[in-house]
Every structure is written in C-alpha cells, then in structure tokens.
C-alpha cells in the first residue's frame, strides 16, 4: 500500500512539471490556434538559465544571503529572462505570420525549436550540465512513503502557480481580456482590445510557467542538456491534448493525469514501456472524446 502512495507521489511530482509546460501549449493554442513546437525548448532554456544564473550569482551573493533566498531569486529571474525569450520568439517568428496560413506558423515554430536547440548546444556545449549536490536530499517519511523536501517544493510551487494563473484568468480584467481574445479574436479587436499586447502577454505567461518547470527540473534531477525540451515538450503537448487543447484547467488536469499514468504504469506494469502508456491512453481517449477530457466541441459558425 505504501508503494502505491509512493507511486502516486512520484506521479504527482512528474505531473506537476508536465502541467506547467502544458499550460504554455494550451494558452497559445487557445488564442492563436497554433501549436507552439518551440515551447519545449522554452522549458529547456528556463532550466539552463536557472543553472547559469545560479553559477553567476552564487559566488557573488552566496555570502550575503541564504541558499533558499538565492534559489528563489534565481527562480524568479529565470522566469523573467525566459519570458523575454518567449516574447521575442513571438514577435520575430509568429507575429509576421499571424494572418497567413496556419501551416506557415507551424513550420516557423518547428524552425524556432531547431534553432533554439542548436543555439543552446553551440553556446553551452553538448555535455550534460550538472547542478551541484547542495540541496538537501532529506525528506519526511509518512506511513512508509518517502517524501523528499524537493518533491514537496515542486508540487507546492506548481499548485501555487496554477492557482495564481486561474485567479488571474478568471478574476482580473486582463485575464478576461485574454479569454475574450481566445474566444473570438476578430470581435476582440473590434471591441478595442490591443491584440499585440494580449498575445505577447500570453507568451510571456506561458514561457514563465515553462521556465518555472525547467528550473524545478534542474533542481530536482540536477542534470540537464540541450535536448530535454524535445521529450518533455512532446509529453506536455500530449497532456494538453488529453485535457482538451485550449482549455486551461484541462492542461493542468492532463498534466497531472499523464504523470500519474506514467508512474503507475512504469511501477505496476513494466518500466520498459513507460513512454507508451500515456500515448495509449491518449489514443483511446481521443477515439471516444476527440476534444479531450475538458475540451469543448468546435464552435459552429453561424
């Protein structure tokens, strides 16, 4: 029984990461109907920026402030810098293609993905970057389940971020503006909404969340390389589709579900096919419910 709860915990940790990345995919799709293939690379850049910022700031500030405060600073700074990457990416690669064929934007996204992967490979080298083992590996043991502090931080931070996003989207004026733009872009512009601003904001928030995931992955697994965006992006995209692409609670749900499916599948059936379980569930779900778990059906044009 303890093993079951341990696997649930493992799944939730993994799922939180997938959920944060999936939110980026789903928000961009909701507004632009574009699958931002480069979003996985944004997550990877977040991880690298976290690593780089820590390497620079640690010697300078290490004596003045505690490790925890430094990590929070690094976390926020990485999110800000990565959001800048996301906003730039949008401005350079997607904005010029906004009113053209959807396929063009998709190809542009693929191009950005390849560019970012190679950019990081060339500038940072192709070897694994290893974050030093300075965080505690300790944890608490509750009913025979090992809960490490880092795991708690990951799940808690993800929940806080997701809660913040939900409140933002539902309760603030900007959030409502974004939802309106996602619902009907043309009508939104007719009502005087600044399209450029809203779309940039979407990318900024999505990239920030992806970066948060990246930094937490770097802290938890301690080794990153320029290629981690590919697989993580693929799985997070699957999670977003699972929950209903374009739907924000759907992305969160899809991410958590994917993490749980992977952990339980790998733990109880076989670890060899770990990557397969999620895709099997996705296929089965899409056959019976093509719009995903929480997705809405495509609107009829009247």
């Amino acid at each position: 029984m303890a093993q079951f709860f341990q696997q649930i915990l493992n799944g939730l940790t993994l799922g939180s990461i997938y959920a944060l990345i999936a939110l980026g995919y789903t928000m961009v799709y909701g507004i632009l109907e574009l699958i931002n293939f480069a979003h996985g690379e944004i997550y990877m850049i977040g991880a690298f920026l976290g690593f780089i910022l820590f390497s620079y700031l640690m010697p300078i500030l290490g004596l003045w402030i505690s490790l925890g405060v430094l990590l929070v600073l690094v976390f926020i700074a990485a999110m800000i810098f990565t959001s800048a990457y996301g906003a730039t990416m949008q401005h350079v690669a997607y904005r010029p293609l906004r009113f053209s064929n959807r396929l063009n934007a998709l190809i542009s996204a693929l191009g950005v993905s390849i560019f970012l992967q190679n950019f990081v490979m060339v500038t940072q080298g192709s070897a694994e970057k290893v974050f030093p083992d300075i965080l505690t590996n300790e944890g608490i043991i509750l009913a025979d389940v090992n809960i490490s502090y880092v795991q708690i931080i990951i799940i808690a931070t993800s929940l806080v971020l997701m809660l913040a996003l939900t409140l933002f989207i539902n309760r603030t004026k900007l959030g409502i503006t974004m939802r309106a733009t996602a619902q009907d872009m043309k009508m939104a512009t007719l009502l005087g909404i600044n399209l450029d601003f809203v779309i940039s904001l979407t990318f900024i928030i999505g990239s920030g969340l992806g970066a948060a995931a990246g930094v937490m992955v770097m802290l938890n697994y301690r080794s990153i390389n320029f290629f981690i965006g590919y697989l993580a992006g693929l799985k997070a995209f699957t999670a977003a589709v699972l929950g209903g692409i374009g739907n924000i609670p759907g992305a969160m749900l899809g991410g958590l579900m994917l993490g749980l499916i992977e952990a339980l599948g790998a733990g109880y059936i076989s670890s060899e096919y770990k990557d397969v379980y999620a895709f099997i569930i996705l296929i089965i779900l899409l056959i019976f419910r093509p719009s995903g778990i929480l997705g809405e059906n495509v609107r009829e044009k009247v």
């Binding site: 080298g125 192709s126 030093p132 490490s148 080794s223 060899e272 990557d275």
Partner: protein
C-alpha cells in the same frame, strides 16, 4: 534580378563542389566515431582526444608511409541510425581504418558497412560479444567483452559481497541489456533476481521503476547502462530511502557519474579493466593528455592505443591494403600505453581482465 540570383547560386554551388572534392591522396585518413554531441558527448570526445594525441605523435615523427595522418571525426550521437550514416560518410572520405564506435548498438550496425567497404575497424569501448561473432576479419576490439564483465560482476556480488537478493536494471540498448543479461546468466541461480526492468536512455525520472523495485527489497541493484542514467538512478535511489548497493559496468565509470549522482555516489561499484595510472607505459600518454584535456575518461587511452596499433600495422605492412592490415593486426603483439595488446582469431583481446572499482572520497579507485 532573378537571373542574377540563379547565376550566383550556381557559381556558389560549383565553388562548394570543387572545394570538397576530397583532399587529394597525400594524407592517410583515419576515422574516429562516437557520440560527440548529446548526453554521452564526453565519451566520444574522450575517444577523439586520445586519438588526436596518437596522431600528433606519429605526425611529429613524419607520419606513416611518408604521408601525414589526418583524423576524420564522425558524430553518431549514440544513435544506431546515425552510426550507419557516419560509417558511410567515413568510408566515402576514404579512411583506411576507423577507431569506433563507442556504443555497441552503434558499433555493430556500422561494422557491416566497414566490412563491406573493406575498412579496418577497431572499437576502443564496445563490449558486446556479438560484434566479434560476425566473423569480420577486419573488425577488432581493444577492450574486454561483456560475457567476461558480466560474469565477473556476478561472481563478485555472490562471493565477495555475499548478497542473495539482486535487482537487475538495464537501458534497453545492445550494450546495457547485453551486460545485464550476462550478469544475470553469471549469477547461475546462486542469487535471486528479484526484479528485471528496463529504463529509457535520455529519461530523467526513474522514481516509478525504483519504487516498484524497492518493494522487492533488493540488497544489490545491478545496472547495465551508461553514466547519465546511472547517476540519476543512484541519486533517486537514495531519495527514495533505498540503501541497496549499486553495481554497474564500464559505461558508468566516468567522473561525470560522480557529479550527477552527487553525494549518493560514494560506495558505487563498477567493473573495469585494471588501473593504468601507475603503469610506466602510460606515463608518456598521461603527461601529454592531462595538461591538455584534463582527466582522461575511461576510454581515452584505449583510443590512443587503437590508433597506435592501426598505424603500426600500416607501417609494418608498408601498405593500406585491408587484407594485409587485417592479417598483420591478427598477428601483432603491441606494446602500448595500457600494456600489451594482442588479438585472437575473432578480433577480441587475448587477455582482458576485469577488476572492481569503487567510488571512494569522490573518485573512482580500484578495490583493494
């Protein structure tokens, strides 16, 4: 305007073709193949560094057969499909021989290409037995094989550690799974295999499979695979409160493993060949390598000796003919940096002992 662009494009293409029309026949080309980018890049770069030192030493003495030696790199990114591509590319460049590849899953497919094209192949690091069972007379291996390695580890776990509950993990590659299977076979029922699971190379999270293995209470976990995954496994084992002993093979014995596993690395056991640090024959190599490239990886010195053997064969036969070189290499007794190397009729080393190494004080050292 369009015509101008078209004309410029044609001229540009022609210039490119002329400049890459092969370097002419005035150098002897040797290929080095392995993962030079990606998560196992360190291993490929170790190979290149070792080979570079060897080539530069020979070139300083005038090269071989009166020509300079040129090293051509091939990056297979530890991907078997890429390895075939690299093999074809190296063959087209006109290499006499290839030092490579690193991963058995790449060396074996590539060997078919080299054999057909009559290019000598000496792998410095691929230990899967299937490579030399193909009967290619120009395929050699300057390292040990997994049937010996797996068996040695199994004997150690049973006789020295005296453990009886063992979990076996592998990374689903030719090398990793091959080694894990040899280990399992070597146990011969003397210990209970409580779990046998595969993980994926490139994956970071193994908490799910480790949690499931933990439920079987293993005393020892044997992992067949390479250092990135090994490091993460060890790290996550400790986080899950598992105090089982980790034993792995020559793919793990790299300082990178210790960095990735962090504090959890202490006490990890790995099989590998005996230490070369104190060998007088290695002194020259180490004195050149360390100031230039830092600490050598486990296979830098193998790569160095492999190049040495190939060039010696070329020099002694006075030719670059495949059959002559293959014959000469089968007869040769080579005194290299890591000691004496001699091939048997299959292309394996006649003598390739394994010993156990342990992580002590943050470094890999041979067990007493």
């Amino acid at each position: 305007m369009r015509f101008f662009l078209l004309a410029a494009g044609v001229v540009f293409a022609l210039v490119l073709c002329i400049s890459c029309g092969g370097g002419g026949g005035d150098t002897i080309k040797i290929g080095v193949a392995g993962p030079m980018t990606g998560d196992q890049a360190k291993m490929g770069n170790d190979e290149v560094n070792g080979a570079t030192i060897a080539v530069e030493e020979w070139n300083a003495k005038g090269g071989v057969l009166g020509k300079k030696i040129e090293l051509v790199n091939g990056d297979d990114r530890r991907d078997p499909k890429e390895a075939v591509s690299v093999a074809n590319k190296l063959v087209n460049e006109g290499v006499v021989g290839v030092i490579g590849h690193f991963n058995s899953s790449c060396t074996i497919p590539a060997s078919t290409i080299y054999n057909e094209a009559k290019v000598i192949q000496i792998t410095p690091a691929s230990t899967n037995p299937a490579y030399t069972k193909q009967g290619f007379k120009g395929a050699f291996r300057i390292c040990g094989t997994d049937d010996q390695q797996g068996r040695y580890a199994a004997d150690y776990a049973v006789n020295v550690l005296k453990k009886s509950r063992i979990a076996v993990l592998h990374d689903k590659t030719t090398y990793g799974q091959g080694l894990a299977d040899e280990f399992k076979k070597g146990l011969e029922g003397r210990a209970e295999v409580v779990a046998y699971e595969g993980i994926t190379q490139g994956d970071k999270d193994f908490t799910a499979v480790l949690t499931s293995v933990k439920g079987q209470n293993p005393e020892v976990i044997f992992f067949g695979g390479i250092y990135p995954e090994a490091g993460l496994l060890m790290q996550q084992m400790r986080k899950l409160g598992m105090d089982a002993q980790l034993i792995s093979g020559d793919g793990t014995i790299d300082p990178e493993y210790i960095k990735i596993a962090g504090n959890a690395a202490e006490g990890t056991l790995c099989t590998y060949s005996p230490s070369v640090d104190k060998l007088p024959s290695a002194k020259n190599f180490l004195d050149t390598y360390i100031p230039r490239f830092g600490e050598p990886g486990p296979y830098s010195i193998y790569s160095y000796d492999a190049v040495g053997m190939l060039l010696t064969a070329i020099k002694e036969t006075g030719s670059t003919d495949y059959d002559k070189l293959a014959a000469r290499l089968h007869e040769m007794k080579y005194e290299g940096a890591k000691g004496t190397s001699q091939f048997d009729e299959k292309g394996d080393l006649t003598v390739a002992p394994y010993i156990m190494w342990v992580v002590k004080g943050g470094k890999f050292v041979p067990c007493e």
